[in-house]
């Protein structure tokens, strides 16, 4: 049996291309790690801010509710019947026409009395919209707040 082995010339293979060198790998890992840290930081910050705004919103709601309660108590205390009773206890009574004296100043222009001042709301109409409404407004999703025409 003849020797099947043939002598062939060994061709030198080129060294493998450094596709990802050790430095590059470390750099990538560092970037990813940094990105991760940044992402975690941001999301925890978002959660914290969300929690804080939620707490503030809850606080605002509570203050508003307490404010309503106080307004109701004021209205109860200033109910016309209560005021009249307190005035009576203090010795006051309605004036009768013979007790009312109008002082006339000569040549003083007399005008019809002006109507009583109208109550002006400084409550909810003038308040800033709540947190979620402001957020929704930013996205153009807030419910419409157009003026409603009152029928006379």
């Amino acid at each position: 049996m003849s020797d099947p082995i043939k002598h062939t010339e060994k061709i030198p293979t080129p060294p493998p291309a450094p596709f990802l060198s050790a430095r590059a790998l470390i750099f990538c890992a560092a970037v990813i790690a940094l990105f991760g840290v940044f992402y975690l930081g941001q999301s925890s910050q978002t959660t914290l801010t969300g929690q804080r705004t939620h707490d503030l919103q809850a606080q605002l709601d509570r203050i508003e509710r307490e404010n309503i309660q106080l307004q109701i108590e004021i209205a109860e205390l200033t109910a016309p019947a209560k005021l009249a009773e307190r005035a009576r206890l203090m010795g006051m009574r309605p004036a009768i026409e013979t007790q009312v004296h109008y002082l006339v100043v000569k040549n003083y222009p007399v005008e019809n009395p002006k109507p009583a001042p109208v109550w002006s709301s400084n409550s909810r109409a003038d308040r800033a919209p709540d947190f979620w409404t402001r957020v929704l407004e930013r996205f153009g999703l807030a419910p419409g707040s157009g003026a409603v025409e009152a029928s006379p």
């Binding site: 959660t47 969300g50 929690q51 705004t53 939620h54 509570r62 509710r65 307490e66 309503i68 309660q69 307004q71 109701i72 004021i74 209205a75 109860e76 200033t78 109910a79 016309p80 019947a81 009249a84 309605p94 004036a95 009768i96 026409e97 009312v100 109008y102 006339v104 007399v110 019809n112 009395p113 109507p115 009583a116 001042p117 109208v118 109550w119 002006s120 709301s121 409550s123 909810r124 109409a125 308040r127 919209p129 709540d130 979620w132 409404t133 957020v135 929704l136 996205f139 999703l141 807030a142 419910p143 707040s145 157009g146 003026a147 409603v148 025409e149 009152a150 029928s151 006379p152």
Partner: protein
């Protein structure tokens, strides 16, 4: 392990391996069952534990008087409930009971057994924020996971029975009834919202993201044209009148004739708006000023007079022959107290309230023109004021199948037709306002959240009669009151114009022979009216006549109103 080895393995080894394989199979089957077959149910259970659906109540708008007095508001009421036993050491339990007792104003000994109760127990029901708020704080401080605190808005009326018939009420189911509450329910109601979020062990929101689904929109606040002081005056005077005349019911209405604004509205019987659930109050919230029609009686003669003068069928100098009674349309029409006046001028026609002459005026005018004027004054049509359950009244007219010849005669003095007190006051206000009919209204301003307030503009409906006719009618009505030296509607120092009414009450095919509706509607000062005041008393027992029972009430109200707004007497006002 090779196949050779397996085949060589002892039998028990094979058995063990088979058993292991069987166990593996069972585990795989269970895994498949829980992960695939039961997926939906378990997923729902997990979401149920984590997800929190929080209803955000929209706050119903406030209702205030024109001068800012709060008539109706939503307040939040809290209910606190322990869902199960509080598992703490005895000393910690005692401390919690002490703190709860301080908040609820109860002795700790009564609270301690509730903390140990295995059954759900209510600690407080429908308490205000002054208690609900500290309860919430305690729950968070002590981490009381089984203390369930819920809140809900409830309508409250701080004035109780103040302006009852104007406001109306909202019940526990948040359904509005009567008054402005019902008439403007959509505007007041707002829209509830809901937050779908994750919840923690305390069932509190974990705000990871923005709830985009539904934000609550609060209702609009309403400011009424009602003035607190004037409303108080009419309510007190109505109560006095009901007491002194022993009338079954009654109402007083004050209008601004130049704008149609309702300044005060009171009716009797009345009830506390916070006690709507009381069966005794069920019929007391109906507003008779807009929902009950009546035959206005002689007050209507002012309308007939204005129509005839405006159409030119009579002049201020016309003299009528009054025979005391007249046959018309198959019936005999008589004057009140069967008075026979003979030749009589317009002032005396109004002063003595002569039915026969009023009939002659409407007949002289003709049915077509007469009813045209009646409708132009607003009778038979809704005023569309912002109050619930308004009725249109009833005016028959030729050709409608109900009208008969006699109606032209009886309608001239306010019988045979029906109107609401508001329609009558609005028509008289048109005479006071130079013939201009204004639409009555009761909502002065609408405050939508986040928007500028919208103020109601007075709405002119039509020129019913000429301004000079209106001035003539005012003069005749005022002279008729002056001519009667002891007219009970007189307000010293002020010239007033007005007309009394004593109307029969129609029953089943006939008029009630015993009871009447006594009324007076007038305005002052006659030359530049600031108020139209209508007083109506039903079934008074001291006298059947409007001049006797309603006129003094008008005077009592008018005197206080002019004092309230500081309107000087005519002489001073005109600088004489």
């Amino acid at each position: 392990m090779s196949a050779q080895t397996l085949t060589r393995a002892p039998a028990r080894m094979r058995l063990a391996m088979l058993m292991l394989a069987a166990v593996g199979l069972v585990l795989a089957a269970r895994l498949f069952y829980w992960q695939v077959v039961q997926w939906d149910r378990l997923d729902d259970l997990a979401r149920g534990q984590l997800e929190l659906k929080t209803k955000i109540y929209a706050r119903r708008g406030d209702i205030r008087t024109r001068d800012g007095y709060l008539l109706a508001a939503d307040r939040f009421l809290y209910t606190a409930r322990l869902t199960s036993k509080v598992n703490r050491k005895p000393e910690a339990l005692a401390e919690i009971a002490r703190e709860l007792g301080a908040i609820l104003n109860q002795p700790p000994e009564t609270i301690l057994p509730k903390l140990s109760s295995k059954e759900p127990v209510t600690l407080a029901r429908d308490v205000p924020i002054t208690i609900g708020g500290p309860l919430q704080d305690l729950k968070e401080k002590r981490y009381l996971t089984n203390l369930e605190i819920t809140s809900r808005p409830m309508r409250y009326y701080p004035g109780g029975s103040f302006a009852t018939h104007v406001v109306g009420y909202v019940n526990l189911e948040r359904q509005a009834a009567y008054g402005v509450e019902q008439a403007r329910d959509t505007l007041l109601r707002g829209r509830d919202g809901q937050i779908n979020s994750a919840g923690d062990a305390l069932r509190e929101v974990i705000p990871f993201d923005v709830p985009m689904n539904a934000v609550a929109t609060n209702g609009a606040d309403l400011v009424l044209t009602i003035d607190r002081g004037m409303q108080r005056i009419v309510e007190v005077e109505l109560a006095n009148a009901i007491r002194s005349t022993r009338a079954a019911s009654g109402s007083i209405l004050v209008l601004d004739p130049k704008t149609g604004a309702i300044l005060a509205l009171a009716a009797y019987p009345t009830a506390d708006l916070n006690a709507y659930f009381d069966p005794a109050n069920q019929t007391r919230y109906n507003n008779p000023v807009v929902s009950s029609q009546y035959e206005p009686g002689s007050v209507f003669k002012a309308i007939t007079l204005a129509s005839a003068l405006d159409a030119g069928t009579i002049t201020p100098h016309t003299v009528f022959d009054d025979p005391g009674q007249i046959d018309f349309g198959g019936a005999t029409i008589k004057n009140p107290e069967e008075r026979v006046m003979g030749r009589v001028g317009l002032v005396d026609v109004m002063r003595y309230s002569l039915n026969v002459v009023a009939l002659k005026m409407s007949v002289g005018l003709g049915a077509e023109k007469f009813y045209q004027y009646v409708r132009d004054f607003g009778f038979g049509n809704l005023t569309r004021v912002e109050l619930a359950a308004e009725v249109a009244g009833e005016v028959k007219s030729p050709g409608d199948g109900k009208w008969r010849d006699i109606d032209l005669g009886t309608n001239a003095f306010g019988q045979g037709l029906a109107a609401t007190p508001l329609q009558v006051a609005t028509a008289i206000a048109a005479i006071a306002n130079q013939g201009k009919l204004m639409k009555p209204y009761i909502i002065h301003q609408v405050h939508q959240p986040g928007a500028n307030p919208v103020t109601t503009a007075p709405q002119f409906i039509r020129q019913v009669i000429k301004p000079e006719t209106a001035r003539l009618v005012t003069q005749i009505l005022a002279d008729a009151i002056v001519a009667e030296s002891v007219h009970k509607a007189v307000v010293p120092g002020y010239r007033i114009a007005g007309k009394t009414g004593t109307a029969q009450i129609s029953g089943y095919g006939a008029y009630d022979q015993k009871w009447t509706i006594a009324s007076f509607v007038g305005y002052l000062p006659a030359d530049d009216p600031r108020f139209v005041i209508l007083v109506k008393l039903d079934k008074p027992q001291t006298s059947e006549w409007g001049s006797q029972v309603a006129s003094p009430v008008f005077a009592a109200v008018a005197k206080q109103l002019v004092a309230q707004i500081g309107l000087p007497p005519d002489e001073i006002r005109k600088g004489k």
